[in-house]
C-alpha cells in the first residue's frame, strides 16, 4: 500500500540563501500518527506549512524534492487544485488558539465557512453539521455555543473549535502544529486524547509537530527527529525511546529535568513568612471611586519559606500564581502580612520598600521581553548596583563580571545587546541581573517555559548550582510539574487564587491528597 503522504528529499530556502530545511524525507500511511520533533529553529513548522504550500512564496523556494499526496505532487499542482485539497483533504490546526480564530466571527460562521466552500452546505444543513462537529469535539451545549465569539471561549474551547473546523470535511490528513503548547496541562491532555479518539473514529492520519517528547511517546507511531533543518533520525516511537541512535536524539531524551531538588543546606530559620495575602483587581467603581465589583486574584494565602529552600507554586493559567510573585515584590497592591527575615513589609510604601528590593529579586518568563533592548548587557546587570550598592566604576565592573561568570556567560559579552543572544543566554543575563545584588530570595516566574527542553535543563542546573553556592531561596512559579519537581523542596498548589494543597514537595508528588492535585499530576506527562 502506498503511503498517504510522501515527502522526498525536500529542501526549503528563504530568499534563495537561507536553507531552512535540507533533504527532508518521511512518509505517513493512512490512520497513522507521525511526529516531527525538534527544538525551535529546527525547521519543523516550516516543513509542516510547506505540505499545504502555506509559506510565503515570494520568499520561500523549493530547490529540491517533492511532496506527494495520494500521487499528486503538491509542489507542481495548480492553485485551483491546491485550494480544493486545502481544508478538504488536508487540514491544519495551529499553535495559538488566541490568534488563529477570527475575533469578529461567531463559532458558527467560522466552521460553516469551510463547509460552504467545499461541500456547498448552507443555512440549516450547515448549522446541523456545525452542531454535530461541536459535539464531536466535546463542547457542551453546542447549540448555545454557535453564537459565541472567540473571546467568550476558554483557551481549550478555542482549540476544540479549531479542531472542529479542521475536521469539518473529514480530511485524510490532519497537520497539528504544536496544538497544545499554549494550553494548561489538564486541557492539553484532554485535547490530545480527543485527537486520538477522533483519529480512531474517522481513520485519518495525523502529522504532529511538537517539541515535547512526552507527547510524542504517548501519541505518535513514528518519529522524525530534526536538527537545524536536517533529519537526524527516523524510527518507530518505541524503538526511538528504547535505543536512540543519533547523539542529538539522546541529548533530547536526556533533557528531562532531574526528579528531585538539589540537597542544600536548608537552615531552619524562616526567611519569608506570608500570612493572609489577598489581592483583588477592581473591575467596577462607584461614582466616588469606591470599588463595587472586583476579581479576587489571590484569596487569603499563607505560606513560609526557610533560607536556602525552594517553594514551588503550581497552578493553571489564571490561578493567581504570577500575581503572588508580583505581590511579594509590591508590583501589585495587596493586603496581608509579608515578613522578610522578620521585617514586616506590608505597610511600607513604594519609597520605603525600595531599600528592601535588593533582598528580593525576580526573573521573568519571557527572556525576550524582560531585557531592555536598547541597553547593553553590562548596563542591564549594573543598573541595580547603582541604586543599592554604590561603588566605584571598577568595583561595579568587577561585580558585573563576577555575576556573568556565575551564570556561565563570557564576561566579554557585557558590551553586546540582548538581541544578539539566544533565549537561554538571555535568561542567564536576567538571572545575572538578579544575582549581582546578592539577594536572599529570587522569585522565578516561569523562567524556563519559553525555552527548549535541552536549554531548560541547563538553566535548571544553573539555578540548582547557584542555590547551593550562595544559599539562595527561590519562589519558583511554573505550570510545568517536571521542572517544579527538579527544584522545589516545598510545593503550593493553587486553583482560582486559593491554596489547594501546601506542604513538602516529595510528599505531594508521591501522595497527593486533593482531587485537583491528582488531576494535575496525572495530566503531567513524565516520560521517564
Amino acid at each position: 500500500m502506498s503511503p498517504l503522504l510522501q515527502v522526498n528529499n525536500l529542501s526549503i530556502t528563504f530568499d534563495g540563501t537561507v536553507r531552512a530545511v535540507d533533504g527532508l524525507s518521511f512518509a505517513i500511511s493512512e490512520s497513522q500518527t507521525l511526529a516531527l520533533v525538534g527544538e525551535s529553529g529546527s525547521g519543523k513548522s516550516v516543513s509542516a506549512l510547506s505540505v499545504l504550500r502555506l509559506l510565503d512564496e515570494r520568499h520561500a523556494g523549493y530547490p529540491t524534492g517533492s511532496i506527494d499526496f495520494r500521487g499528486e505532487n503538491m509542489l507542481s499542482i495548480s492553485a485551483r487544485r491546491l485550494r480544493q485539497i486545502r481544508g478538504q483533504k488536508i487540514s491544519m490546526i495551529f499553535q495559538e488558539p488566541m490568534t488563529s480564530l477570527n475575533p469578529l466571527h461567531t463559532v458558527e460562521k467560522q466552521i460553516s465557512e469551510t463547509l460552504a466552500l467545499h461541500r456547498g452546505l448552507r443555512d440549516a444543513q450547515a448549522r446541523k453539521r456545525c452542531i454535530e462537529l461541536l459535539e464531536l469535539v466535546g463542547i457542551p451545549e453546542p447549540e448555545k455555543r454557535l453564537a459565541s465569539y472567540p473571546h467568550q471561549l476558554s483557551g481549550g474551547q478555542k482549540q476544540r473549535v479549531m479542531i472542529a473546523m479542521a475536521l469539518a470535511n473529514e480530511p485524510d490528513l490532519l497537520i497539528a502544529d504544536e496544538p497544545t503548547t499554549a494550553l494548561d496541562v489538564t486541557v492539553q491532555k484532554q485535547v490530545l486524547e480527543l485527537l486520538r479518539d477522533l483519529q480512531q473514529k474517522l481513520g485519518m492520519a495525523i502529522l504532529l509537530i511538537t517539541h515535547d517528547l512526552s507527547i510524542v511517546r504517548r501519541y505518535a507511531d513514528q518519529v522524525v527527529v530534526m536538527e537545524k533543518g536536517k533529519v537526524v533520525e527516523t524510527a518507530a516511537t518505541e524503538t526511538l525511546f528504547q535505543s536512540p541512535q543519533h547523539p542529538y536524539t539522546r541529548k533530547l531524551l536526556d533533557a528531562e529535568p532531574p526528579a528531585s531538588p538539589a540537597v542544600t543546606h536548608i537552615k531552619q530559620e524562616p526567611l519569608l513568612e506570608v500570612k493572609d495575602l489577598d489581592v483583588r483587581f477592581t473591575t467596577r467603581r462607584s461614582l466616588f471611586g469606591r470599588p463595587k465589583a472586583w476579581f479576587q486574584a489571590v484569596d487569603k494565602t499563607s505560606f513560609a519559606l526557610n533560607r536556602g529552600e525552594t517553594l514551588g507554586i503550581v497552578g493553571e493559567s489564571g490561578s493567581g500564581k504570577t500575581t503572588i510573585g508580583h505581590a511579594l515584590l509590591k508590583l501589585t497592591p495587596c493586603t496581608g502580612s509579608i515578613r522578610l527575615s522578620g521585617k514586616e513589609l506590608g505597610p511600607l510604601n513604594q519609597k520605603q520598600f525600595r531599600s528592601c528590593r535588593r533582598q528580593i529579586q525576580i526573573v521573568f518568563q519571557d527572556p525576550f521581553g524582560s531585557l531592555s533592548p536598547r541597553m547593553s548587557v553590562a548596563e542591564i546587570v549594573r543598573e541595580g548596583l547603582e541604586i543599592h550598592l554604590p561603588a566605584t566604576p571598577e568595583e561595579q565592573d568587577r561585580l558585573v563580571i563576577q555575576a556573568l561568570t556565575d551564570v556561565g556567560l563570557d564576561p566579554e559579552a557585557r558590551h553586546r545587546y540582548p538581541h544578539e543572544f539566544s533565549g537561554g543566554q538571555r535568561q542567564r543575563i536576567a538571572i545575572a541581573r538578579a544575582l549581582v545584588l546578592q539577594p536572599e530570595l529570587i522569585i522565578l516566574d516561569e523562567p524556563t517555559s519559553a525555552l527548549d527542553r535541552t536549554v531548560q535543563k541547563q538553566v535548571i542546573n544553573l539555578l540548582r548550582d547557584l542555590q547551593d553556592k550562595y544559599g539562595l531561596s527561590y519562589v519558583f512559579i511554573s505550570h510545568d510539574l517536571a521542572v517544579v519537581r527538579a527544584l522545589s523542596h516545598k510545593l503550593l498548589v493553587l486553583k482560582n487564587g486559593r491554596i489547594v494543597e501546601y506542604g513538602d514537595a516529595s510528599d505531594i508528588f508521591l501522595r497527593p491528597k486533593h482531587e485537583y492535585t491528582r488531576e494535575l499530576l496525572s495530566a503531567a506527562l513524565f516520560y521517564s
Binding site: 525600595r354 535588593r358 521581553g369 531585557l371 531592555s372 541595580g384 541604586i387 553586546r416
Partner: protein, 339 residues
C-alpha cells in the same frame, strides 16, 4: 575621549549611510559658512589700511572723519569719496560679495530687479539688494530658527508625551483633551492679531510657533510609553528599585527615541517651511530682514525676474533635502537591530 563599543557601533552605522554622512558634512559646511556671513557678504571691507594704520570695519565703527570726510557718522565705504581717499593713501580688502543683506545697489544700469551680472552674482531684488547676500543671511536665519524651534518643541513634546503615557488614566485623559482643544486654535489668526499689537521679531515668532508645534511629538511618544510601561523589563526595573523618573528616561525613552528621531527631520523641515510661509505672507520677520519667504514673495511679484524665484527655490530645496538625509542616517545609527 574613548567611545564605548556601543557608541562606536552607532557611529559606524551612521557612517554606513553614505548619503546621510555626506549630507551632514555638506550641511555643516554650508551652515558654518553662513554663520560667518558677515565675512562673506558685507558692504564694509574686511581690512582697511589708511595712513599706515589698520582698521577692521566689520567689527569696529570707523567714522568718516578718519578718512578725511566731514561727517562724524560711520563711513560708507561704497561711496567713491571714501573709497578713493582710502585707495590714495592705503588699501582695503573686500569680502567676495560687496553687499550686505540690506545694502541697496544704486549703481545699477537697469531698473531693479537687475539680472545676474559680475557685480550681483544672482541679480538683485526689486529694491536693488543683492540676492546672493540675502540668500546667505536668509539661510542662516532659517536654519537657526528651525533648530531652536525643533529642540524646544522636542523637549516639551517628549516630556508631555512621556508623562501622559507613563501615568495614563486621568493625566492622559486631561492631557489629550487639552491637546485636542489647543490644536484647534487658529495659529495664523493669532499671528495676524499679534502683528497688529507688536512688531513680531525672531523671538516672538519662535515663541508663538513653539506654543503650537510641541504637539506633533506628543502622540508618538505617548503611544510608545503606553505600550512600554507594561513591558517585563519595565517591571524588572521596578523590581530592582528604580524610581519613576529613571524608569521613564532610562528604560522607556530610549525605545521611544527611534520614533522621535524619525519625526525629527519632519519637525525641523516643518519649522523652516513654517517660517518661510509666514514671511511669504508678510506676517513673519520684520520687513527688511533677510528671509527666503520674502524672496519667494518677490519672485511671485516679479515673474519677469526668474532669478528671484529660482534662487529661493534652490536654496530651500537643498537645505530641506540635506536635513532629511541626515535625519535618516541618525535613525539608522540608533537602530539596535542594525548590525
Amino acid at each position: 575621549m574613548t567611545l564605548t563599543p556601543i557608541q562606536q557601533r552607532r557611529l559606524r552605522n551612521f557612517r554606513n549611510n553614505r548619503r546621510g554622512f555626506w549630507s551632514l558634512w555638506v550641511f555643516l559646511a554650508l551652515f558654518g559658512l553662513s554663520l560667518c556671513a558677515e565675512l562673506i557678504a558685507n558692504d564694509k571691507p574686511l581690512v582697511v589700511s589708511y595712513q599706515d594704520e589698520l582698521y577692521f570695519p566689520v567689527v569696529e565703527k570707523v567714522s568718516e572723519e578718519t578718512f578725511g570726510g566731514f561727517l562724524p557718522t560711520e563711513a560708507d565705504y561704497r561711496d567713491s569719496f571714501v573709497s578713493d581717499a582710502i585707495e590714495a593713501d592705503g588699501w582695503m580688502i573686500w569680502p567676495p560679495i560687496r553687499f550686505s543683506y540690506n545694502t541697496t545697489n544704486y549703481d545699477l544700469d537697469v531698473p531693479s530687479p537687475a539680472p545676474p551680472s559680475a557685480v550681483n552674482w544672482i541679480g538683485t531684488d526689486d529694491q536693488g539688494r543683492d540676492v546672493a547676500a540675502r540668500v546667505i543671511y536668509g539661510f542662516r536665519i532659517s536654519v537657526l530658527f528651525g533648530l531652536i524651534l525643533t529642540i524646544l518643541s522636542c523637549i516639551v513634546g517628549v516630556v508631555v508625551g512621556a508623562i501622559q503615557g507613563f501615568y495614563g488614566g486621568k493625566v492622559d485623559l486631561i492631557g489629550q483633551r487639552f491637546i485636542e482643544i489647543w490644536s484647534g486654535l487658529p495659529v495664523l489668526f493669532l499671528l495676524i492679531i499679534l502683528s497688529s499689537i507688536v512688531q513680531p521679531n525672531f523671538w516672538w515668532l519662535l515663541g508663538i510657533m513653539l506654543l503650537f508645534s510641541w504637539m506633533g511629538l506628543v502622540d508618538v511618544v505617548r503611544a510608545e510609553f503606553l505600550r512600554a510601561r507594561n513591558f517585563e523589563y519595565v517591571k524588572a526595573a521596578r523590581a530592582l528599585g528604580l524610581g519613576n523618573r529613571k524608569i521613564m528616561f532610562r528604560h522607556i525613552l530610549p525605545n521611544a527615541m527611534v520614533a522621535t528621531l524619525t519625526f525629527l527631520p519632519f519637525i525641523l523641515t516643518g519649522a523652516i517651511t513654517g517660517l518661510t510661509s509666514l514671511d511669504f505672507l508678510g506676517f513673519g520677520l520684520p520687513s527688511g530682514s533677510p528671509s527666503l519667504g520674502e524672496l519667494i514673495a518677490q519672485g511671485k511679484a516679479n515673474l519677469h525676474a526668474p532669478w528671484l524665484g529660482i534662487s529661493a527655490f534652490v536654496s530651500l530645496s537643498i537645505m530641506l533635502t540635506l536635513l532629511v538625509f541626515v535625519g535618516e542616517a541618525v535613525r539608522d545609527a540608533f537602530d539596535p537591530r542594525k548590525n
